[in-house]
Assembly symmetry: C2
Homo-oligomer: 312 residues x 2
């Protein structure tokens, strides 16, 4: 039941309280599973560093929220925790990291609506290596294009059947947007609403920073402000953005929540796409226009990375 590939699978299974290990190189899903035939299910992607999953509770909570939005009944958080622990431990045993700097794995949680007619979800945990591309982009930054997401910024409240704010398996549009960006020579996408609001990346949350000097009579001081789009536009609540905001606030940053427009991105001192695996990816260009100044971007990125490193 062990896998030669660097992917470990653990299925949630009532007969196996710690989860059922399965061989990722062998078929494990029925062809009639509604995850495969209709993208009908939910997921989370998390980073484990040195064997510890970061922001585990926030991800389990968001998985629960997605399940509720899709009317999916999924196993209790304890069962997910047990399967995650099994998967991470197995991966560390089978594929030990070559160095502590590389001791990172992706932990993906998936819950589908299960096989047609079965009325019970298929749930599993996948543990796999972190891709080299994401690591490079943390360092080198990314070029981004703005793309229309097709929805206006009010639709989420009006039309809950659109499942905005749930992290579903129906990701074909997100993948198509990334392919569209790659064809244009860009690395990633920031989606806009039809009414011109900044939304999110296909797999990330948008952050921007402003640094200004204020003098309130007691002498000049530097104000650093971290801003992200407001949630009621139907974007996914970012677990990484949430954790970073908490850490940044404790370190004296001011926080802000959109509405944001493209010009706000162009006027920022730095822009990032933040997500659980790639972490903070500095945005160098948007639609070919340089963002901020390289020196300040580098400094702010280092500062936020240091703050984020303290996130549990």
């Amino acid at each position: 039941m062990t896998s030669p590939a660097p992917v470990v699978l653990v299925f949630l299974d009532p007969a196996f309280p710690a989860g059922r290990l399965a061989d990722a190189s062998q078929p494990q899903l029925l062809a009639t599973d509604q995850g495969a035939t209709r993208g009908d299910g939910i997921f989370e992607s998390m980073l484990a560093v040195g064997g510890d999953v970061r922001k585990l509770q926030a991800h389990l909570d968001r998985l629960g929220g997605s399940a509720e939005t899709l009317d999916l009944v999924i196993p209790a958080q304890e069962q997910w925790r047990a399967a995650i622990a099994t998967g991470v431990a197995q991966h560390r045993t089978q594929h030990p990291a070559r160095s502590s700097a590389e001791d990172e794995v992706v932990v993906k949680l998936v819950a589908t609506r299960g096989p047609e007619g079965a009325d019970s979800p298929t749930c599993w945990v996948q543990v796999s290596p972190v891709g080299a591309l994401g690591r490079r982009q943390r360092e080198a930054g990314i070029d981004v294009i703005l793309l229309d997401r097709g929805y206006d910024s009010d639709v989420a409240e009006r039309a809950p059947w659109l499942l905005l704010g749930a992290k579903t398996l129906s990701y074909a549009v997100n993948m198509a947007a990334l392919r569209h960006a790659h064809k244009q020579g860009a690395d990633d996408v920031i989606f806009l609403s039809t009414d011109g609001r900044v939304l999110e990346g296909p797999t990330s949350t948008v952050l921007l920073a402003h640094v200004e000097t204020a003098d309130d009579g007691a002498g000049a001081r530097t104000i650093r402000r971290l801003i992200t789009p407001q949630l009621d536009t139907g974007i996914l609540p970012g677990t990484s953005q949430g954790a970073l905001f908490t850490a940044a606030k404790a370190a004296g940053w001011e926080l802000g929540y959109g509405p944001l427009e493209p010009q706000d991105l162009l006027d920022a001192d730095a822009v990032w796409l933040i997500s659980s695996i790639r972490l903070l990816a500095p945005v160098n260009h948007i639609d070919g226009k340089e963002i901020g100044t390289p020196a300040l971007q580098k400094q702010l990125t280092a500062e936020l990375n240091a703050l984020y490193a303290g996130v549990q």
Copy 2:
């Protein structure tokens, strides 16, 4: 390699020119398949009557169009045809129809982007029985609610990365819309654009009919007109609607293509949702309002069913 369940699976596999039969009751997909993890793939659903797949060429052509929109390279149509023939023949052998009236099966074609990192699609044909619900709805008709699809009617041309007009596996929103309708006591949904145009059902095309009497001097004659929403609103081109339009035209019907608004549905003499498996489902009520008159609806449905029965 045979299945006890009434589902037959045939994978497209270069080593098996007629397709590779697989046991549908056993896992056949890798958990890393991007069909299962991202709804990244395409599909078609077709009806086979007495062993003959209806509108096969139209479905293969639409599958090819969806593949192109998603930048998926899929096997040639001959390979699909061979696998379909294998699957249908196997199903007829294993699960012969109890009567000629029940000699119908669903033939589903699926192509996913394949396992992560493999760069080759996973393609299969699934043959299974027609559900009882669809058969009942052909006879009894359905109640429908109108739901906002969140997109305006121009978005398809503006934003090809939204994959409108492709039949992708990312169907979570379509399934959520149907659940929303069921919670309201309705059977199905007609989606509207944000600018109030009639689009399509989650798994069907909208049709409406007007019957009027004209007198052009040569005596009174009855004009029957069949209307469907125009395609440039980003709806899926309906293979059943297309075939029915061809047959209806030959039988003297006039044809029309939207823009349609909800009032056009309420003013129609009959409204149907048409799709490949359920065929023509007469719409009895929309948002609680009765459509047309039962007698005329029944007569028009019978007439169109007779025309559709001649479709190859």
